[in-house]
Symmetry: C2
Subunit: 95 residues, 2 copies
DNA sequence: CTCATATATCAATAAATAATGATATATTAT
DNA sequence: ATAATATATCATTATTTATTGATATATGAG
């Protein structure tokens, strides 16, 4: 991965609103509608950062009925949050 | 480590000038005088970011004659740059 | 079709941060 | 003490980025 790519990923994670989004998504995928409450941010702010995270390749989303479900796409995020001590060591099992 | 601490570290690494400084220091400690040339930045800019990295706990420095030698202090930096593919896998041997 | 809910977008402002050029402060050698 | 080199600091400007409130768009239920 290039320096530009790495900077993109680091920048994505280094802002508190986005960091909180990742934190909560590490526990599993979530509907866009519940995230603002979980991270204590407004709907608009959350939406913008969610879209930015998708744009940066960190998250992915899918529609389910009238809801949009967000989840982590970039596997490196798990490794980084493990290094940071947010996740317990060991393998991340993806079902 | 707290969310604030993690954000501090991520922010430290997510800016290009600082990222370049880390990149070059991953290869070994360096004198402040040679870093601006190595990373293609001005002396002033480099100095400010070096001090910021020390302040953020990422780097440490020591005087050697009239030179100041900078090196990586926070071991997590190695792990993160390994995840990012900047460093080869395996253990980092510190002499 | 209408309503309610969910999500995205927009323009504007605010806030944070980086970069610059000039200057000041060490430190060492002569 | 002077000069040369190395590093840090300062005030300013420029740049980037986040946040907000309002509004628009989409979707599905009834």
């Amino acid at each position: 991965m290039s320096r530009a790519d790495n900077l993109k990923l680091l920048k994505a994670l280094s802002e508190e609103t986005r960091y909180r989004i990742i934190e909560t998504l590490l526990k599993g995928e979530k509907c866009a509608c519940e995230i603002p409450f979980l991270i204590h941010r407004t709907q608009s702010n959350t939406s913008m950062q969610l879209l930015k995270l998708v744009d940066l390749g960190v998250l992915k989303s899918r529609r389910e009925g009238r809801k949009i479900i967000y989840s982590i796409k970039n596997r490196k995020v798990y490794s980084i949050f493990r290094v940071l001590g947010v996740l317990k060591n060991g393998y991340k099992i993806i079902f």
